[in-house]
């Protein structure tokens, strides 16, 4: 797929944008054999862009996010984040996992503030930002609840707030809504769209849900089965502000989801 043409104000960031992968491959060595998790992966994500990554289970989607975060080194190729090569764990990102990964002994608010404590952010700024995020994600009234008192959706909201506290230029989300029921998931999709528009952060979202990818993303990276590589990058072509029901009924949405289904179906049939 050619470089996407951005219709709206978000400009291709200077020098290769926000996230850039060049010919990246990842090989794991296990006792019995070498496993290639990723090969020939090249990807360019512009600043402020929302990119969803879909693909069959075990195709290395999570590995890709870990590469960007610097939690994993590529076997070959280069990873750049905001123009700089990634050499170790990066601190200018926010990370959300499938499980909320909250500290059980901390209230929702103090779980969010963990980010500030680790970064030694000024306390008053952290407090203000936390309050802002709590309101933005609909956690008002739950600030002092402990994780075990919160539903899965609420826990994931707390994890999202924690990831956004330091206003990261890049947000990495690894199947963040995968463990939630369908209704909560829709609700959080709508909220994530709004949060993305309000914060203008670059988002990389790994998901299993084709609808979620098409509803949220500017572009969708469809990956093949292991060894994972990019099968196609789909331009969704929907406006930034997306009403859930209206978006679902739009031809662009239908086209994108149909194309993903085609690609994923082909990938699994070929194997």
């Amino acid at each position: 797929m050619p470089e996407s043409t951005r219709e709206r104000g978000r400009v291709e960031a200077s020098r290769g944008g926000s996230v850039r992968l060049e010919d990246v491959a990842v090989r794991f060595r296990t006792k019995k054999k070498d496993v290639t998790a990723l090969r020939d992966v090249s990807l360019d994500v512009a600043e402020g862009e929302f990119v969803a990554i879909v693909g069959p289970s075990g195709c290395g989607k999570s590995t890709l996010l870990k590469l960007v975060a610097g939690l994993l080194k590529p076997s070959s190729g280069a990873v750049r984040l905001r123009g700089e090569p990634v050499t170790g764990p990066r601190h200018d990102i926010g990370y959300v996992f499938q499980r909320a990964a909250l500290l059980e002994w901390r209230s929702a608010r103090r779980n969010i503030l963990l980010q500030a404590e680790m970064r030694r952010m000024p306390a008053d700024r952290a407090r203000a930002r936390t309050a802002e995020l709590i309101a933005m994600t609909g956690l008002t009234g739950f600030e002092d609840a402990y994780p075990h008192e919160l539903s899965g959706g609420m826990q994931q909201r707390v994890a999202l707030c924690r990831a956004l506290l330091h206003e990261p230029p890049v947000l990495l989300m690894d199947e963040p809504f995968g463990a939630l029921d369908a209704l909560t998931r829709e609700q959080l999709n709508v909220e994530l769209n709004r949060i993305w528009r309000e914060t203008r952060t670059t988002v990389l979202l790994v998901t299993h849900s084709i609808a979620e990818a098409a509803y949220l993303a500017d572009r969708i990276v469809v990956m093949t089965d292991r060894p994972g590589t990019v099968a196609e990058v789909i331009d969704v072509g929907l406006p930034d502000e997306r009403d859930y029901a209206v978006t679902m009924a739009r031809p662009e949405f239908a086209r994108a989801t149909a194309r993903i289904r085609d690609l994923l179906g082909a990938a699994s049939a070929a194997d």
Partner: protein
């Protein structure tokens, strides 16, 4: 959008309802929970009394409950003195075992080389019967406090190390990765994530350790002492004074029970988030 509730007393969707029982309800709950063990203990006491009352066993072999209690009352000062000695040795041994055990566990988890070196030694130290090395310790350290405390430490140390290592290793790896993306150093990650996350495991080990520490102290006293409950029992045994022997045994078990309950209380106090999740089961962690 999610409906937002600002008044805390309005029940809000998403927060699990937490029951806040009143005082009366709490008493009823406690009674419902504890009548079975209390009934069993009473039944044992009645059986003990019946056997002695019917003279099925000679009185010098098994004294009656009344006789035993009589001895406890008559010799209260004597028993109290020796109980205090044993409790002191036990607590000292338990505290040292906890500190050394936690430190060893942290070293082992953070350094695979230390773990590979220490683990076999630890296991070796654990499988040596403590009763067998107690005489040696008395030879080395004399008849005072030291050998008893050392035996208590040796016996209580192992569960502390094992539970703490398990706890430190059981931390969610994603939590550690998250910590790395937050720019946290190893010390911060340890203090804010790893250590608190390992405490529930540690406490299950501490509960085992504290009961073992009593055994350790008494074993130390058996081998060579002129004080403590182990000494009391040895003396009573030599004089065929079974009422005193029984009294000593009762007090000794009481020490174990009281210390266990104290550790459990400390756990509830320090880890309310853990205790409230664990529910009402008596033993779920070990």
């Amino acid at each position: 959008m999610v409906s937002q509730s600002t008044t805390p007393d309005v029940p809000v969707a998403g927060v699990a309802e937490r029951g806040r029982p009143g005082a009366g309800e709490r008493v009823r709950e406690a009674a419902a929970r504890s009548w079975r063990p209390v009934a069993l203990l009473l039944a044992c006491l009645v059986a003990w009394w019946a056997i002695t009352a019917a003279k099925l066993i000679k009185a010098y072999l098994v004294p009656s409950p009344a006789k035993t209690l009589q001895v406890m009352a008559d010799k209260a000062g004597y028993l109290w003195h020796h109980t205090w000695i044993t409790t002191y040795e036990t607590l000292l041994g338990f505290v040292i075992a906890t500190i050394v055990g936690v430190l060893a566990a942290v070293l082992m988890v953070y350094s695979p080389a230390v773990e590979r070196t220490l683990y076999p030694v630890l296991l070796f130290a654990q499988v040596i019967p403590k009763v067998a090395i107690a005489p040696l310790l008395v030879v080395w350290l004399g008849f005072g406090l030291a050998p008893k405390v050392v035996v208590a430490v040796l016996i209580a140390f192992f569960p502390v190390v094992i539970s703490m290592v398990t706890g430190l290793k059981a931390v969610d790896p994603e939590m550690i990765q998250l910590s790395a993306t937050m720019g946290a150093g190893p010390l911060q990650t340890f203090a804010k994530i790893r250590f608190p996350a390992s405490l529930p495991h540690l406490f299950s080990g501490l509960k085992v350790a504290v009961t073992l520490a009593v055994t350790g102290a008494v074993v130390g006293e058996f081998v060579g002492a002129n004080e403590g409950l182990g000494y009391v029992i040895q003396q009573a045994n030599g004089n065929l004074d079974t009422p005193m022997l029984f009294a000593g045994l009762l007090v000794m078990s009481l020490i174990g029970v009281v210390l266990f309950v104290l550790v459990e209380f400390a756990e509830k106090l320090l880890l309310p988030w853990h205790a409230s999740r664990r529910g009402t089961a008596v033993t779920t962690t070990y």
